[in-house]
């Protein structure tokens, strides 16, 4: 490439020669001829510089053009991405694999199987089309079955009112709304048993009052507690709403900026919706309905909820009541199920805890003194059903206790944002159930759960 500097140097040489020639004072004809030659050389040089400049200009235009129309492939902590250079299109490929090892120490009259299993195996495709429209698709191939967990489209044009359509988490339970790679324990607590897992419907959500208030309202097919389905079984709909306040959030330096509280709720008729069964921390069914019982009538869920995060410390609490109509034969009654939990966690490595994904300050890389983040967490929770459940024959104490109380302690090692190794010990005690012939209540469940998880 012929630079301006180089051409200027040549110009100086030519000009100097011209000066010397003039100083020698040759005859006028020779002098004119020399001047013409020099003018020609200067013109040629000028053209070469102009061509060089124009070529650069065209290259820059072509690069800008290519940049506008092309795409960039990237590998980010949140997934592998293909993004159009105009930022209007994005495809993100993610993956969530959890390998669990469940061990049940001690003796029990209930057969509990020690096992290693694929708890979740969920590839995820998500992204954006035409700048304002997001999509998300995530099946699950874990535990030997294929289930569509999420499939939705979201219009984000209005920042305070996003429309989501498809299959996703209805806005009720707090821990249910937390991604499974963000929860402090291998398995969620009792309140999550009483809220919908995924449902198909429409939802509008947004943040208002400078992100101090977030709201969600939606209409759904209606699914059993902790359940999901791909189709409705009745004409009725479930209406769900949640309001959550983070009053100090805009000021991240405020000691209460990590405080959030709110309430989620759902309401609707649930005629003939399949009935759930409830599982312990060790994922063993401890509560089920008697045969011949159907859901019939209204169901209402209420879920007050709160969290508080400050530096490495985290506190999380929620209470859920689910009252639903049950019928057996000619008997129909509304029965209430209640659950609560309180969690506390602390990051020994001083990293910052939050409701969403933890990113260690130093990723696991011992050669460079990086060990990731280590967290200790404890929780206690309770589940109970009102006595009418048994009195009206909707269940029997032979198979379902009236209450359950759990204590769980765990340690999480976050190698980086994507990889976590967890070890939890859960102790669950049951009350008011199981016949005396079996020695009183259902035996205590002791569960040791270990998980290796990658999620991006």
């Amino acid at each position: 490439m012929f630079s301006r500097k180089r051409s200027f140097e040549l110009f100086l040489v030519v000009a100097t020669q011209a000066f010397h020639m003039r100083a020698q004072v040759p005859d006028p004809q020779t002098q004119d001829q020399k001047i013409q030659e020099l003018e020609k050389k200067v013109e040629e040089l000028d053209q070469r510089v102009r061509v060089s400049d124009r070529t650069r200009e065209l290259e820059a235009e072509a690069a800008a053009d290519k940049s506008r129309s092309g795409a960039t492939v990237g590998a980010e902590p949140t997934g592998i991405t293909i993004r159009s250079n105009d930022q209007n299109f994005l495809l993100k490929i993610g993956l969530d694999i959890q390998v669990d090892n469940r061990t049940f120490p001690g003796e029990s009259s209930v057969p509990l199987t020690d096992q290693i299993l694929i708890r979740r195996a969920r590839p995820a495709l998500s992204g954006t089309v035409y700048k304002y429209i997001d999509f998300y698709l995530r099946p699950d191939f874990g535990q030997g079955s294929t289930v569509l967990y999420e499939a939705y489209v979201q219009l984000n044009y209005f920042s305070r009112a996003n429309l989501r359509v498809g299959k996703f988490k209805p806005p009720v339970g707090l821990e249910r709304l937390q991604s499974d790679d963000d929860t402090s324990f291998v398995e969620r607590g009792f309140p999550t048993l009483l809220v919908p897992s995924r449902d198909i419907g429409y939802q509008i959500s947004g943040d208002v009052v400078k992100r101090r208030v977030s709201y969600t309202v939606g209409v759904f097919n209606g699914v059993p507690d902790n359940g999901l389905s791909d189709a409705s079984v009745s004409d009725h709909r479930d209406y769900a709403a949640r309001i959550f306040l983070t009053p100090f959030l805009p000021n991240t330096n405020h000691p209460l900026s990590g405080l959030g509280f709110g309430i989620g709720a759902s309401s609707g008729n649930n005629d003939n919706i399949p009935l759930p069964s409830y599982k312990t921390f060790g994922q063993n069914t401890f509560f089920s309905f008697a045969s011949g019982v159907t859901s019939m009538g209204h169901r209402t869920r209420l879920a007050p909820q709160a969290y508080y995060y400050n530096g490495p410390f985290g506190l999380f609490a929620e209470y859920t009541v689910s009252e639903e109509g049950l019928q057996k034969g000619t008997v129909r009654r509304d029965i209430a199920f209640r659950a609560w939990q309180v969690q506390a966690s602390y990051l020994l490595t001083g990293d910052k805890k939050g409701f969403t994904t933890l990113s260690p300050r130093k990723n696991f890389d011992p050669k460079n003194h990086g060990w990731g983040a280590v967290e200790l967490a404890v929780r206690t929770g309770d589940f109970s059903v009102e006595r009418g459940f048994f009195n009206y024959g909707f269940g029997t104490v032979a198979t379902s206790p009236r209450s359950a109380r759990e204590w769980v302690g765990g340690v999480n090692w976050y190698l980086n944002r994507a990889v976590r190794i967890s070890l939890d010990y859960g102790y669950t005690k049951f009350g008011g159930g199981a016949p005396a012939a079996l020695g009183g209540n259902r035996p205590i469940e002791r569960a040791l759960l270990q998980r290796f998880q990658i999620n991006f």
Partner: protein, 335 residues
């Protein structure tokens, strides 16, 4: 309940009526580089005529660039209602690869859907200091020729074929001599723009080169804008008859509900008013009456057609401009 339903139906009908009779229509015309001024004038005249005829306002958006580049944009999804490109091969490509208009699109309007013609002339600097009179002067050592890249520019392909055709006619259809001639010509090309308007900028604004191979209309536009004290138009003795075609892009026009108006827009180009606007912008009119009226604007020269010397655009494209074609052998960037 019945009353509510009745009101609902009335509102629905009103909405449908409103949707069916829009007060404003938007059209997108995807065109090649030097037609900006032509279609600005056409759009204004057509909108006026359409408003008078139907009472509906019409806004025509224009998109301009190298003809090949514009065709690729439509193939890649640019939803043009109308394409007005530099050569039929580019519209054929759209029909073939995007299937958004039928293969016989060229038969739908008169003159093979080419409402006006043009040719390739030379634009030189005032006083014609390099004494450029005809094609032979372009291959002389020391002559700097400005022309866009035939890979992306329709005008450049016409210019390339004009030079090739001249050499064929001069050398008794000897293809090897024609190739040698065009090779020498492109050795004198210091920079390739992507479109005709870019080359005009290179020549006129950046002051590069001795001669610009230009669309006739672009040359006279530059002459008017820059002034006769800056540039001159040199008309060679022989050149090519350039026939820029137009077409409705059926799929997108139908999708936008613009099929009728898009067709009317192109038909307007053939009307006396449309032809006059073309002639005023230095496009050679098809309508004899208008051609006679503006005869003094268009110098007489011997014109050959692409069918006559090259067997049509498909053959010319494959032989000269496709990847690995003769142009790739003739022109090496940076040399």
């Amino acid at each position: 309940m019945k009353r509510t339903l009745r009101i609902g139906w009335v509102l629905l009908a009103a909405t449908a009526l409103f949707a069916a009779n829009p007060s404003s229509i938007k059209l997108l015309n995807v065109s090649y580089d030097p037609t900006r001024e032509l279609y600005q004038d056409i759009n204004a005249a057509f909108a006026k005529q359409w408003k008078a005829k139907t009472g509906v306002d019409v806004q025509v958006s224009q998109s301009h660039g190298g003809s090949g580049k514009q065709a690729r944009a439509v193939i890649d999804g640019l939803q043009a209602d109308i394409v007005t490109l530099a050569l039929s091969y580019d519209i054929d490509s759209i029909a073939e690869r995007a299937r958004v208009l039928p293969a016989n699109w060229q038969a739908r309007l008169p003159n093979n859907s080419t409402p006006y013609t043009s040719t390739i002339v030379f634009l030189v600097r005032k006083g014609n200091p390099k004494h450029i009179k005809d094609w032979d002067d372009l291959v002389k050592p020391g002559i700097s020729v400005i022309t866009p890249n035939p890979k992306s520019s329709g005008g450049a392909r016409w210019a390339y074929l004009a030079a090739w055709g001249y050499a064929l006619k001069k050398n008794n259809s000897d293809d090897a001599k024609a190739q040698d001639f065009v090779t020498r010509l492109y050795k004198n090309v210091p920079v390739l723009d992507s479109g005709a308007r870019g080359s005009t900028t290179t020549f006129a604004q950046r002051g590069i080169g001795d001669v610009l191979l230009s669309w006739e209309n672009e040359a006279y536009l530059a002459l008017n804008e820059l002034g006769k004290d800056k540039v001159e138009v040199v008309v060679p003795a022989i050149s090519i008859l350039a026939e820029p075609p137009v077409a409705v892009v059926d799929k997108y026009a139908n999708k936008h509900g613009n099929a009728e108006i898009a067709k009317a827009y192109l038909e307007f180009l053939y009307t006396e008013e449309g032809q006059e606007i073309g002639a005023k912008n230095f496009y050679r009119p098809r309508l004899e009456k208008v051609a006679a009226k503006y005869a003094d604007r268009f110098p007489k020269l011997q014109l050959f057609t692409i069918d006559e010397l090259f067997g049509g655009w498909q053959k010319a494209q494959k032989k000269h401009f496709d990847d690995g074609g003769l142009f790739d052998k003739i022109y090496t960037p940076g040399k």
